[in-house]
C-alpha cells in the first residue's frame, strides 16, 4: 500500500459542485502532478465537509486545515505553499480565529461545537473506500452484534432510547421487537431513503458521506429481527447517492460483509437498491412498500396492515430512516448507556438539522438533542441575514409547525417541541426574517400538500383542494375568523380520516400559523 504524506479532501455536495468543486479538484490533481507530488499527496473526493454556503471547501490532512471559497486561481498557491512548503494559506482558511486554534493543533471550533455521531466520518474518510470505513472502526459493530444474540441487539437498541429520525419518532427498539416476535417464513428490512420533505437533505449527505454506516445499520437490523433481505429505497433524483451506496454494497459483498454466511457466522443478508421516481408520499412507509413492489405509491390503511407485521409482499418488514440506521452501529459499539449520555432523557442522541432560509450560513449541522433553537440559528447559522430580526421558523418540513419568537428558547427534542405544539419532523429548520409574509408561506405549504396528495383517499384529495382555494383568496385579501374556523375544521377532519401522514399533517402548519400569527392572517 502506498503511504501518502498528505491528503486533500474535496467536499462534494450540491452547493460545492455549483461553486466549481469538480474544476478545483481537477486543477489540484493537475498542479500536484506538475510539481511531482503525485506520489506523496492524495486528492480524495468526499461528501459534504459540513461547511456550506462557503463555496468549494478543502480539508488538508494531516494538519486538518480547512480552506473555504477556493477558486481555480487559488489552487497553485495552495499546492505551492501548503503542500510543497508546508505553510498555510491564511487568507483562505476557514476563519481567522479558527486558524489560530488550528495552529495550536486543536480541532476547528465550528465542528468541535457540534456533536458528530452520525456524521463522524462524513467529510473525513473517502466514502468510496470500504477500507477507510473499516479503518475507523467500521463493521466492528456488526461483528459484535453477530457474536451476540439477536435478543441482545434488540435490548441494546431498546435501552438506548433511539427514536426514528424520519419524522414520527417511533422507538426503534420497539419497532424491531414487533417484527422479531412475528413468526414468518420471510422478513425484510427496508431503508427509507426517499427523502422528499422540503428543506431536508440530511439523509442524502449521510448516504454520500458515509454509505457503509447505513449499510452496517441495515445488516444489524436484519440480524436482530431475523430478516435475510433488505431494500434500500432511494429518491430517483439522488444520482450521486445511488452511485455511492451501489459501490458500498458491491464492496461489502466482496469482503463477505454482505451475502451468505457473513463473517462465517451462518447469518446471511442481501441488499438491493430500489430507485424511486418522484413522489413525496412514497416516504410514508406503506406507500414506499407499494412502490418497491412496482406499483403506484398509494398508502395502505393501517391498522390492520402495520408493516412490522404485514409489509412487503405481506411479510413482516422493518422500515427505518437513513439517519436512524446510521445511529445503530455506534450504539452497538459503544453501548446503550453511552448513547443515553448524549441528548436529553426522552430524546437521547444527536440530531442532524438542515438550517435554511434567511440565515447567514445555511447548511447542515449535527448537535445534541436539546440544543435550543436560538443556539442553532444564532451560533451555528450565524444569525439572520442583512441584520434583520428573526420572525419565525418552520420546523420539521412542510408538515411541521410555524413557530414564533417565543420558541427561540425551547430545546429542540421530541418532548421539547411537543410541549410547544411543534414537531421535530425530519429536522428541517426554515428561518424567516421580519419581512416574511406568513400568509404567503402558508399558501406555499398548502400548495405543496395539494401537489403531493396521492389522491387515493377522499379527505386528502378534496380537503387539500378546498384549503388551497380558500388560501388563494386569503392571499389577495385577508381572511375572516369564519374562513379560518372552516379551514381548521377541514384539516381536523383530514387528521382524523386521511389514510396516511400526508393528509393527516396539514393541520399542524395551519393551526400553528393561526395560533402564533393570527393578526397577520385574520382581518
Amino acid at each position: 500500500m502506498r503511504i501518502e504524506r498528505a491528503h486533500v479532501l474535496v467536499g462534494i455536495d450540491a452547493g460545492a459542485v455549483l461553486a466549481g468543486a469538480r474544476e478545483v479538484q481537477r486543477k489540484l490533481e493537475e498542479e500536484i502532478k506538475k510539481r511531482g507530488l503525485e506520489d506523496e499527496v492524495r486528492v480524495l473526493e468526499t461528501g459534504s465537509l459540513g461547511i456550506t454556503g462557503r463555496g468549494v471547501v478543502l480539508l488538508v490532512y494531516p494538519e486538518g486545515v480547512y480552506y473555504v471559497n477556493v477558486k481555480l486561481e487559488d489552487v497553485p498557491q495552495i499546492v505551492e505553499e501548503h503542500l510543497l512548503k508546508g505553510r498555510f494559506v491564511k487568507r483562505l482558511m476557514l476563519e481567522p480565529q479558527i486558524a489560530e486554534i488550528l495552529a495550536r493543533g486543536e480541532a476547528p471550533k465550528k465542528l468541535a461545537r457540534q456533536k458528530r455521531v452520525v456524521l463522524q466520518n462524513a467529510g473525513v474518510i473517502n466514502p468510496d473506500s470500504i477500507e477507510e470505513y473499516i479503518a475507523t472502526g467500521g463493521y466492528e459493530a456488526l461483528a459484535k452484534a453477530l457474536e451476540s444474540s439477536p435478543e441482545w441487539v434488540i435490548n441494546e437498541i431498546e435501552n438506548s432510547g433511539l427514536r426514528g429520525r424520519g419524522g414520527a419518532g417511533f422507538p426503534t427498539g420497539r419497532k424491531w421487537r414487533i417484527t422479531a416476535d412475528v413468526k414468518a417464513s420471510q422478513k425484510f428490512v427496508v431503508c427509507n431513503a426517499d427523502e422528499g420533505e422540503p428543506g431536508t437533505f440530511k439523509d442524502r449527505l449521510i448516504l454520500e458521506g458515509d454509505p457503509h454506516k447505513v449499510l452496517e445499520g441495515m445488516i444489524i437490523a436484519g440480524y436482530a429481527v431475523g430478516a435475510k433481505r433488505g431494500y434500500l429505497y432511494i429518491r430517483g433524483e439522488y444520482e450521486l447517492s445511488i452511485r455511492r451506496i451501489g459501490k458500498a454494497i458491491e464492496d461489502a459483498y466482496k469482503m463477505g460483509l454482505l451475502g451468505d454466511n457473513i463473517l462465517e457466522t451462518g447469518f446471511s443478508f442481501h441488499v438491493e437498491i430500489k430507485k424511486g421516481a418522484g413522489a413525496y408520499v412514497c416516504g410514508e412507509e406503506t406507500a414506499l412498500i407499494e412502490s418497491i413492489e412496482g406499483k403506484r405509491g398509494n398508502p395502505r390503511p393501517k391498522p390492520p396492515y402495520y408493516p412490522g407485521v404485514k409489509g412487503l409482499w405481506g411479510y413482516p418488514t422493518v422500515v427505518n430512516n437513513v439517519e436512524t440506521l446510521a445511529n445503530v452501529p455506534p450504539i452497538i459499539l459503544n453501548g446503550a448507556s453511552w448513547f443515553r449520555s448524549i441528548g436529553t432523557r426522552e430524546s437521547p442522541g444527536t440530531k442532524v438539522y438542515t438550517i435554511l432560509g434567511h440565515v447567514n450560513e445555511p447548511g447542515l449541522i449535527e448537535v445534541e438533542m436539546g440544543t435550543t433553537l436560538k443556539e442553532v440559528i444564532f451560533d451555528f447559522a450565524k444569525g439572520i441575514r442583512n441584520n434583520r430580526q428573526f420572525k419565525a421558523a418552520l420546523i420539521g418540513g412542510a408538515a411541521g409547525a410555524f413557530l414564533g419568537r417565543d420558541a427561540l428558547d425551547i430545546p429542540l427534542s421530541y418532548e421539547g417541541l411537543k410541549e410547544y405544539g411543534g414537531v421535530l419532523g425530519s429536522g428541517a429548520i426554515l428561518v424567516f426574517d421580519e419581512a416574511t409574509s406568513i400568509v404567503d408561506m402558508l399558501k406555499n405549504v398548502i400548495f405543496f400538500f395539494k401537489h403531493e396528495s396521492c389522491g387515493k383517499c377522499v379527505p386528502c384529495r378534496v380537503g387539500i383542494s378546498k384549503l388551497y382555494e380558500k388560501m388563494e383568496r386569503i392571499a389577495v385579501s385577508k381572511g375572516s375568523e369564519k374562513d379560518f374556523k372552516e379551514m381548521m375544521e377541514i384539516s381536523d377532519k383530514m387528521a382524523d380520516t386521511a389514510l396516511c401522514a400526508l393528509g393527516q399533517s396539514v393541520i399542524l402548519p395551519l393551526s400553528s400559523a393561526v395560533k402564533f400569527f393570527k393578526s397577520e392572517l385574520i382581518s
Partner: protein, 151 residues
C-alpha cells in the same frame, strides 16, 4: 431498442419502476410512448392500464413527449422563501410556455418540483441532471440562452 432494455430485467412487477426508468432514458423525447407502455405491459405480464397508471403516478415519468431538456424548478417552501416564484415567472416569460408545456422548438419542457434536495443553494432548478442554485431571474435567462446556443 426497447426490447434490448427489457431483456436486462426479470419480467416481474417489482422491477416495473426500474424498467420505466430505463425505457424512458433511451427515449429521444424523455417520455414513455403508448407503444413502450404496451411492450412493457406484455413483458411484465400486466395490463397496459396498470403500467400507465403506475407511470403517471410518479413525476419523473411522462407519457407526454417532452422537450430535449427538462427544466424542473423547485417550488418548495425553502426555495419559495428566497424568491423561487420569480425564477418560475422568469422561465415562463423567457420560454413562452406554462408549467407542463414544451417550447415550440422542442428544446425545453418546463416542470415544477416539490423539492430537489439542494435547499442549501435555494432558489434552485435542475436542467436534466444538472443542478443550478442561488438563482436570480437574470441568471436564469443567461442559462437558458447558453442552452439555446448549445442546442
Amino acid at each position: 431498442m426497447v426490447k434490448d432494455v427489457l431483456s436486462k430485467f426479470e419480467p416481474r412487477r417489482e422491477n416495473l419502476l426500474d424498467i420505466l426508468h430505463a425505457v424512458q432514458e433511451t427515449s429521444p423525447n424523455n417520455s414513455l410512448s403508448s407503444e413502450d407502455i404496451e411492450m412493457i405491459a406484455k413483458y411484465v405480464g400486466i395490463t397496459p392500464a396498470e403500467v400507465y397508471g403506475t407511470a403517471t403516478f410518479y413525476t419523473m415519468f411522462s407519457v407526454k413527449p417532452r422537450g430535449k431538456h427538462v427544466i424542473r424548478v423547485c417550488v418548495s417552501p425553502a426555495c419559495h422563501l428566497l424568491g423561487g416564484e420569480s425564477i418560475l415567472e422568469a422561465l415562463k416569460e423567457e420560454l413562452g410556455v406554462d408549467v407542463g408545456d414544451t417550447t415550440k422548438d422542442g428544446l425545453f419542457t418546463l416542470e415544477i418540483s416539490s423539492c430537489l434536495g439542494i435547499c442549501g443553494v435555494a432558489p434552485a432548478m435542475m436542467i436534466d441532471e444538472i443542478a443550478y442554485g442561488n438563482l436570480t431571474p437574470a441568471r436564469v435567462r443567461d442559462i437558458i440562452n447558453e442552452y439555446r446556443r448549445g442546442g
